[in-house]
Amino acid sequence: MANINLQMAWRNIWRNKLRSSVVIAAITVGLFGGLAASGIMKGMVMDMIDNALENTVSHIQIHDEHFIDNSEVVFLMKNSNILVQKINSEPEVEAVCERTKAFGMASTASKALGVMINGIEPDKEKKVTKIYTKLTDSLSSYFTTEKKNRILISQKLADKLNAKVKSKIILTFQDYDGNLTGASFKVEGIFKTQNAMFDEQNVFVRKKDLDRLLNMPANTSHEIAVLLKDYHKTPEVVDKLKKITSYHIEAWNKIDPYLELTTSLTGFMLLIFMTVILLALGFAIVNTMLMVILERTKELGMIMAIGMNKRKVFIMIMQETTLLTLTGGILGILVSIIFITYFGKAGIDISGVAQGIEALGYSSVMYPQLSLTDYLQVIVMVLLTGIISSIFPTIRAIKMKPAEAVRMD
């Protein structure tokens, strides 16, 4: 029975080729629109998150508890070198680096701006963050000379301070003992990430230079950044590290709650998008099927007269509706997969139309992406739409009296 029913449903769909094609095209275009928009949005968000994790946040950060609220030089972690070694020996860990951090003033002859001075160990830092790949011009380098007091600043800061490579910048800050101190640094490189806010607020110098100027005790630092092999394992590693140290450990989603909010929001937006689109399509499908049933009143009456019971009529109409919906749904999903896979690799450059998008931390080249779960979720939603849309027309069909239906002109 199942077989002939499906065959009938399929052939019935193509009885009115134009009408069914229009409905299928509407579903295809609707789903493609929704999926492509969701894919682009998700791609942008994931790209932003990747950028944030790669350039600034890492997967896990460790600080002295007081340093979180009040980034003062005195709230440091002792024996941080031993802690770094311990963390490094965890199998899930890709790389670890430590930093000294101090708020200060960066000034040139023309201007002075407040910045966070990051004292880094370039070789280890390179394994954790990707700032070294973000240098803007060929004159820039990432701490290649061993000379003292070199500084890396962002393009944005360079513009504001009117500085370029080899310019002198004076950094002023409070040292460990509370005394105001400072030194002249020579610009070694200029970088640019996709996060304008981060760029404006951060400069990088060698940790040993900053430690010396700050008068930091030996083997101490303010921040340890950990990069994992797989960021999905962050919660497990956080738990592990809590057993090793009593310092404050934070996962990326706690360091920057905005990242996690955006991730969950994208999933939610896909759901909303698809619900609205499928709801609209649902009405079109109901309308089409009501027309179908009206057209086939006599035929349905005859089928019921010869002995097809209401349950089977119900299933027959439902199969036809669902098959119609699913045909459009699968086409729409296929077109979307092709679009998202192609542009997920090739990218869509929107820099021409979306100036300022980088200031928000998004990349101007979008790489749309959707996961298998997203597609499966949409298929289930399409299937549900088909089934729900068939209920009303089906009820109409089974309410018919065969005697009247057969004789109707």
Partner: protein
């Protein structure tokens, strides 16, 4: 013994203020193997009577007993099942499912009955051959003439192995040659396989062939002749 027993059957329709007595007290019985025509002018109640016998409509009064089952006592879903297993239908038009081939149309009813594939296929082939369409198994209704379509409908009506076949003006849309042909086939099935046919008709050609002619006027039987 009679396979259909009709006692004091009444069917009243209420159209606005006026009551219409479409069937107004009919007593009839049909034996197995009859080839009977119910005739009468338009509005005489012959289609209503046929619908009542076929369980497509329920009587206002009286009862219809088919093979010892009072069909007025059956529930809506029981009556559908009863029709499926006991009654074959041939309608005036729109008789076949247009998206199915001749063979699939005949098989369809056996699908509903849940018969096995082998039995379905053999019986379909036999039936379509017996109505002279053994070579048109895979034609869709739109590829068949009106007469051929009605012959497929007869084959389908017999496919479920019903107790009797009800045909509501089966020749109304056919030319004389197709009518002749269809009647010959039905008569042959009646004669050789003892299949009971009951028609409603006002086609003189059908009346001529019938072995029993029941005339209805104003919802009542006015004559019942056996030839």
């Amino acid at each position: 013994m009679s396979i259909i027993q009709i006692e004091s059957l009444k069917k009243t329709y209420r159209e606005t203020e006026v009551e219409v007595h479409a069937v107004n007290g009919i007593d009839l019985s049909f034996e197995a193997g009859e080839f009977a025509a119910i005739v009468g002018p338009s509005g005489s109640g012959k289609t209503t009577l046929l619908n009542l016998i076929g369980g497509l409509d329920s009587p206002t009064e009286g009862k219809i007993v088919i093979n010892n089952t009072n069909i007025s006592n059956l529930s809506a879903s029981q009556i559908i099942d009863f029709r499926l297993w006991n009654i074959g239908f041939v309608f005036q038009a729109y008789n076949l499912i247009p998206v199915l081939t001749a063979k699939e149309n005949v098989e369809f009813i056996m699908h509903l009955q849940g018969r096995k594939k082998q039995e379905r296929e053999q019986r379909t082939k036999d039936l379509l051959t017996s109505v002279g369409l053994g070579n048109r198994l895979n034609s869709r209704p739109s590829q068949l003439s009106g007469g051929q379509q009605q012959r497929v409908a007869v084959a389908r009506a017999l496919a479920s192995k019903p107790k009797f076949v009800l045909a509501d003006e089966p020749t109304a849309n056919l030319d004389s040659k197709s009518t002749e042909n269809l009647l010959d086939i039905m008569e042959k099935l009646n004669r050789e396989e003892n299949i009971t046919f009951i028609f409603s008709t006002h086609d003189a050609r059908v009346v001529k062939k019938a072995h029993r002619v029941i005339t209805i006027e104003d919802g009542k039987v006015v004559s019942d002749e056996r030839k």
